[in-house]
Amino acid sequence: MTVIAPAIIRPDDWNVALFIHILGAMVVVGSLVLATAYLVGAWRGGSPGSLRLGFRSLLYGAIPGYIVMRIGAEWIYSKEGIADLPEEPDWSGIGYAVADIGLLLLLIATITSGVVARRTAATGRGDDRPGGIGVRVSAALVGIVLVVYVIALWAMTTKPA
């Protein structure tokens, strides 16, 4: 059986929007992996430095990457004319749902880790210490966001239904 790749029949004027969308998504995922590694390190080792780096990975990497990814998504969405279809494809719905849920979790994780990092810098002890509940919540949320983004990646590449 022969397969003709959609990329072959994709119009060229979609490429810039697609490139921006993919680049933003890759930066988000890379930043989330880095943040997860530092936050898990802060959780297990109680290092304030790891906590601060985890927070910065989210603030300076994941959130800007998300904005770029979302701009690219809206651009390619309009170029493909999906809004004009009688029914939105499942893969598009999955992408939007994951992006919205992911943003909410990402913001909660960033704010939580930022607050704990700031309090740790001020006091260095108490429930706000690295390894406390705030760091565990942030690490868990970032891990969940990573998993749902892999699901979104599957939906975007395989385009079910």
């Binding site: 397969v3 790749a5 890759m26 930066v27 992996v33 880095l34 390190g41 780096l53 395989t158």
Partner: protein
Amino acid sequence: MYDLLLFLHVLAAFALVATVVMYTGFALGARWAGLPATLAEVMWAIGGAGTLIFGVWLALYVDGYEIWDGWIIAALVLWAASAETGRRSAVAIGAQPGGDGTVDERAMARWHALRALLVLALLLVMVFKPGA
């Protein structure tokens, strides 16, 4: 089969770029040690192998692509160049054997910047497929 190959190829590409993002963090002063360091090396290995294996598999499987297409050869050359600059970057920071044992953060940042540009060019070739 095509969907699975494409998903694995793109997933590997995400792992590759994740390493570039992580190394950018290290180059900007983030601490290189422990879990982040290990994860960066593992993801570079998985991403590198995955993009190459599933990419070549796709080129052979898909009707309309040939392994000797100009954009695919360009991608293979960029992949090899990014692999070598990534290796030099890792050697400079002591993550791989081959250096003199000292950590040279400036050399790491220099090789990493080159690797990041090459990976960006690779992504451009993959999306735009010039000549396809």
